[in-house]
Each structure stands twice: as C-alpha cells, then as structure tokens.
Symmetry: C2
Subunit: 183 residues, 2 copies
Amino acid sequence: MARMKIFAISGSLRAASHNTALLHAAARVAPANIVIELYRDLGKLPPFNPDLEEDDPPAVARLREKLIEADAVLIASPEYAHGVSGVLKNALDWMVSSEAFVNKPVALLNASPRAVHAQAALKETLTVMSALVIEKSSITLPILGSGLSEELIVANFEISIALTEALRVLHAEVQRLVGKVGV
Amino acid sequence: MARMKIFAISGSLRAASHNTALLHAAARVAPANIVIELYRDLGKLPPFNPDLEEDDPPAVARLREKLIEADAVLIASPEYAHGVSGVLKNALDWMVSSEAFVNKPVALLNASPRAVHAQAALKETLTVMSALVIEKSSITLPILGSGLSEELIVANFEISIALTEALRVLHAEVQRLVGKVGV
C-alpha cells in the first residue's frame, strides 16, 4: 500500500470543536504515505429510523461509500454526559446493517483524559460492528481544557509527535491486517 | 399529588417499535392516578450542536418544557450495537445544559433482557445529568423477539401486572422524593 486513505470523523458539530481541530492537526502531521479526509456531513444525516433503511437516504449512502473505500477510519468524539455524542452514535446506527465497518481498522483519538466513558462505549460499539479497533493508535491527548487550536496542536512538539506516531503505527497495522484478513 | 404526570420517551423512531409499543401499553395499564404522555417529536430534534444552544431551537425548547412540567419521566430505548440509540442520546445531549433532568425521577423500561449495555449507559448518563433513576421501577421485560404488540402486552397478564406495579412504585417514589428534595 503506497498511500493509505484514512476517513476521519469528528463526533462534534461545534465549529471550534477540539476533536475536529485534533483531526485537522492529524491530517497535517501525518506521515507522507497517509492521506486523511475529514467527514463534513455528520449534521446532514437524518435521524436513524430502521423504516427508512430500504430507502437508503443519500447522505447515508455517501457515508457508507466513504467508509468502504477508506483503508482505515479515525474517530475523535467528545464525551457528553458520560456518553458518546448522539450525532456520532446516530451515524454509527445507520452503518450497523451494512458492511461499512466490517474488518475496518479504526483508531479512536480521545481529546480528553477525563473522558473515559465515551471512549469505552465507542470501542464496544465498533467492536460489535466487527471493526478492528487498533489499540496502539487509539491514544488520549490533553487537548480539552488546554485551549489548543489546530495550529497550536501542530506546533506542540509532544502532541504532534504522538499523533504522527499513532498514524505511523496505524499504517503498519493496516498493512499487517490487510495481509492477515485477506481484504 | 392527585394525578402524576409522566412524560414518556421511546428511543426508537421505527413505526412498529417494541419500545414505543411498551410505552403505549404502559399508558393503558397505568394506575388511575397516573397520566402518561408519549413524546412524538424525537425525530424532529436537530442534531445537537453546542453553537446553536443559544438560539434554543423550537423543538428543543418544547422538549425541555415537557420534561420540566412532568412529575416523572419514563424512557424505553432500543440497544443498537451495544449502545444507546443515537436519536435518544441526541435528545439527552440537548438537555445537558438545562435543568430539565435535575432531580427528575426517571424510570428506564428495558424491552430486551439481552440489552444490558444501553440500559447501563442510559443510567450513567441520566445520573450524571442529576436525574433520580428509580431502580425499582426500571424493569426489564421480554418484549423484543416475542412479537408482542401493544395489544398483546396489555393482554399479557404477567407483563401488564409488572408494568402496573412499576408505575405504582414510581408514583410512591415520586411522592417520597418530592417531599425529600423539596421540589
């Protein structure tokens, strides 16, 4: 695999979201053999309704395609009231009945050391959806409360090094898994 | 308290939802001193965005008012991929910054004995939002997989007795708590 395509999803719709900033920063500090595309339509997904699955709403179909064509997925979600953000879980609910996450390597970036519930719940949900959560690339970084913007994350030596390393490991794991699972 | 007002929320938008059927059945077998109103606008809530909280979208304001004026809240949610449904969590996310759930007695009906993750996550989230989760009224009933409709739930002796008893206990607990917390 020359270049690895990563599809990145922020679980927050806030314009100044720390999680979105973290993913933007990840795209900038990524090794040269990784391309990161950020999902921008989380807020356009309809509320999940099993009755509408046969209709395959356009925004749902596009998300599924993006996930399927990606070599790996990077997720950064805020924790709201000790849970995964509803908007992110809504997106995952739409994907449950498809193959979008099956055998898909996923790394979970956590922007807050205190947010242990959402990270654990996301891992549980993605695992039951047959995703391959890559532990070594699922790191926690002290972004929330630090006031770090995308620029400051990139400029922060320790954080940007940790991000780059998580992505390097993800690339290696994807190559290993692609061989292993025969995708 | 002569009549207790319960606001009921189903976590599923599916027309034939077992959870919605369970709440309809609860309304029918409730003791005479309880009135249950079912929330019908879960699918009309916008995706949660902290940037829009100041605008107070109309559907969000109406939900908050309904919760505040209720003596207690009854929630029945499906479990999707070992998690709370995104649409229900989205509604809770909108309420986090308000007083809607503070000291509010809440009972969680679980329509599936196998759905342990969503029930636990809901309890965690509501507790951190300062709701009073009433354990004795938060019962699990074997609805999912049984094919029981609203009519059949009402007609099922064991289930309807369990529902009525859960609501009777909820009424008693609310009266006790209202005295205790001085609402």
